[in-house]
């Protein structure tokens, strides 16, 4: 039996041992995904905990149509996007600040070694919509294929492809927007399809 199937069955019976095994197997990935989507370390840790508690409450609704890991990542992405949206409505700005996006829990060496490009990208990523941010994180940081992203976000592959292209276009546009408004690298930005 697939180990994930076994975990899902144990979770559906609300066995704490199954929850622990699931955490051992998928915890790092869930926590990393939360961190990359939410930015702030404390928020990410709280979100990751909530993912596992939801899992404990709702594992019985796992119908096996998707792989268990895909289902778990979908749960994680949806929970993080929901939190981002709530936060956006609460404070009336789009997303966390860039310095909040960079993991404050990283080792000092890693802090020092961070390049300017990295910080710039983190700041730009934080300004994207949750939808664009999620798809870029899944592709660029989690390394998922289009088919895997499609399964995780429950989208057609074609939508994954066009959304990724738009998200990248948006990042490039933001990167080119200088305060003095000069040197915009794209002469004719692509309009967002309606």
């Amino acid at each position: 039996m697939d180990p994930d199937q076994e975990l899902a069955a144990g979770l559906a019976r609300r066995e704490l041992g199954a929850l622990h095994a699931t955490y051992e197997r998928h915890g790092e990935r869930v926590q990393r995904l939360c961190l990359r989507l939410l930015g702030r370390s404390a928020d990410a840790e709280d979100a990751a905990q909530e993912v596992f508690l939801r899992l404990f409450e709702r594992a019985a609704s796992f119908d096996g149509r998707a792989r268990f890991s895909t289902w778990l990542h979908r749960l994680t992405v949806n929970l993080c996007l929901h939190r981002l949206e709530k936060e956006r409505r609460r404070v009336g700005r789009s997303l966390p600040d860039a310095d909040e996006l960079v993991d404050p829990g990283a080792a000092p060496d890693a802090e020092l070694g961070r390049t300017e490009a990295r910080e710039t990208l983190a700041r730009l990523l934080a300004r994207l919509s949750g939808e664009h941010r999620a798809i870029l994180v899944l592709r660029e940081l989690e390394g998922l294929s289009y088919a895997e992203i499609a399964a995780t976000l429950e989208l057609p592959v074609g939508t994954v492809m066009s959304r990724l292209a738009r998200a990248r276009g948006e990042l490039v546009r933001l990167a080119g927007a200088r305060p003095s408004d000069e040197a915009c690298p794209i002469p004719h930005p692509i309009p967002e399809p309606t």
Partner: protein
Amino acid sequence: MIHPDLDCVAARTALSARLDGELDAALTDERVLRAHLAACGACRTHERELRALATAFAELRDEPALSDLWPSIERRARRAQRAPPLLLRVAAGLLGFLGLGGAVWFAQRGLAPRASERHLFERVSAPAPALETLFASLPEYRLLHLSTREDQR
């Protein structure tokens, strides 16, 4: 000349997909894309920017430091485990609500229930049974109860 089948939006979508090794998904012929790039300076610039972006993402890809969340998860899960499952809580809430609804309905009519309605009244507006009583009859709850007691030992 810019290829008539590929405008800049489609070309940039294809460029992004090619970068991911997923040009098949774009249903765009590599030669058509190359022809567009040869004719369109703006899309050539975009391609360079996409490559720079990919390099920058590689920098962000390192593994962040993670904490052990299991102790907190375990504590919260045990608390959740002692509470009846969500479905049962909803059912209990619904029964309580119906009980209250029955009382309100009769109060609004301003009538004592007629003898023929008494059985209905009694059933509907009786206070919702205590959770223990309600769930004790369900095997799932008994199992839960057992596992909780085991945990406490």
